[in-house]
Symmetry: none
Subunit: 207 residues, 4 copies
């Protein structure tokens, strides 16, 4: 209880199943609200309305407004990783094939949750210190997935890169391109073009 402190959002309620259910409910509904109005721009009243939980009851499941943001990040990572596991990307043997599949899958995911990716960049500043650390840890683990693929490809001499981790970081970064810079491309390119170009650029950068 002392060391494991703050790994999750504290709640007054006893029933753990109810807590899980409500926490997910809050995270999902609030994420849509935050995407539209931002974290600071959303009041607890609005969060209450969006989640369908009265304001007093909301505070039975959280202790501060920050917690709602943590729940949003939690919910996001849940759906994100879940979606990724469903498609057996990591079963592919050929590194180039595998990388292309992973990148394409991720691009689709980011495309579908565009606001979310942007949201996480924008609002991570408001996360409490200890939760931020956890988040960064999760991101690092995510990068390491790509690092693994790159390392294998480098050993097999199919990839020509100097530093696998650095390259993996850049790939993960590039995947968010549409979310963060999409506005400067909208009108010039179709969604499919954007994803095709991105895939192409990323693949070329490693070969």
């Amino acid at each position: 209880m002392a060391e494991e402190d703050r790994k999750t959002v504290r709640s007054q309620v006893k029933d753990p199943d109810l807590i899980r259910k409500r926490h997910l409910q809050i995270g999902i509904k609030a994420s849509k609200l935050f995407a539209k109005k931002g974290y600071a721009g959303s009041s607890m009243r609005e969060i209450s309305k969006a989640t369908g939980i009265t304001i007093g009851n909301l505070y039975d499941y959280i202790t501060k407004k920050e917690d709602v943001l943590c729940l949003v990040f939690d919910a996001f990572y849940s759906t994100w990783t879940e979606n990724l596991k469903k498609h057996g990307v990591f079963d592919i043997e050929d590194p180039a094939e595998q990388l292309r599949a992973a990148v394409r899958k991720m691009l689709e995911l980011v495309h579908n949750y565009q606001d979310m990716a942007l949201l996480m960049y924008r609002e991570s500043k408001h996360l409490p210190k200890d939760f931020l650390k956890i988040t960064l840890q999760k991101e690092t683990e995510f990068i390491e997935c790509f690092e693994k693929i790159l390392k294998k490809g480098k050993e097999q001499k199919v990839f020509n890169i100097s530093d696998p981790f650095f390259a993996a970081s850049m790939i993960v970064y590039q995947i968010s391109f549409e979310s963060l810079r999409g506005w400067s491309l909208k009108g010039r390119y179709t969604d499919e073009e954007i994803m095709t170009y991105l895939e192409e650029i990323i693949m070329k950068s490693v070969t």
Copy 2:
């Protein structure tokens, strides 16, 4: 530059020189504050303290808090473009040489104003509509500088890219890598390593 700009932030004060001076003062000091506490998280009283201008006087130079953010963006673009012009990047003939020089220069700039790049991504949401349009225009012009280099290189067959504008957008995006994802690299790489790797990756992506 003196007559045509500053139509966006109106002030009560009549002396145009004083306005320019104070606007710059506000933009620079507030940018440091915003980088630390964010736009929404910084109160007008804090901005007043940071700029050294009393709150009432501050409102002689702006009309809304938004305006401070505009001044931050303004100040940023001023120093940014100014710095870029100083080094005769656009005199270089060889496209590859030219691109490398431009990228390296920009990487150094972004490195020195790290918080700023992140700030601009994070807070552009809070810009008023009309000012946002101007900002996007400035960004597009910036991208087009790189597009021009890429086009020339493509014609000379030194660059192998399918869409120069898209590639230019990606390069500009990659240049901000350190600002937006730097935390995942800190501790693993020195500043110099980061810039060298970035330069290498960007150059490879076009050849």
Copy 3:
């Protein structure tokens, strides 16, 4: 009276009984404050103190300071019309008798709520447009009560007037005489004298 009114001042609070109670409380207490210091001269903090409702809670029952003024007008008209109905003025048959009774009753009322009449003249400028319309409508209805009496009297040749509505307007105006010009009479006449003279003048003006 319960369902149809109070569409003008919206509140966050859900319990309609509580809303009615608080709205009346605000209207009455604020009216005394406004009479003393004027609408513009009374701060929300003072209104809060005067009503005994904390400032945040106050804003659960109103949306703008204007609303407080509306509630003052509401409360005034409520007590005004209520008081008038209590005394069966409109049952009297003889027009002259009826007019004299109505005037006398009104004079007493205005005398008891002296500051209020003055307040309403002074502050109606600050009412929001739509509410002002409602207020004027209520006043017109009030004038029409007197118009009706005058019309009947004119038909029965007991009153000698050229335009009943105009005359009714003037009577209603004269009734507020004490509120608006009382200061120039204080010291010269007793309260009872003022009312007697007023009654006399008004009655003579129609015969």
Copy 4:
């Protein structure tokens, strides 16, 4: 200097002619502003703009914002009495004729300065105590003009009134009818009709 204190608005400036000129200028221009936006609703900045005197200079002729209101009242009484003297109302011998002439003249005056009359009712609350006393004195003197006419008429048995001063007060009050209640008549009556009816009612009230 001790007893006569505060009879007028104090000024830093030495030249008495300039003071008079500026005071009148301020009073006239500010009156139009106050009529539109009210005393409390007009800022010193607006007053400065309306008068064409810079804010600092303004404070060379006044000491507080209140003073501007005093100057408005002063300017008003100046033009008012001036206008009244021009027409030789007080030379008429027959009391009824004289009263009718005075009333008609005043009605025209009030009609032309409608906003002003309303303004004075509304804003007299904001006058400093000592100045208010002077204002009331001036008003009383004005009422006494009518009282004199009524007294003469009463002695000659052409007027049938019980208390001349009270009746005079009421007449002065009725003269402002259009200013204070005009909105409820607009649309129903022409300006000329209003004045004719008013004259008729007032004359009947004394005979």
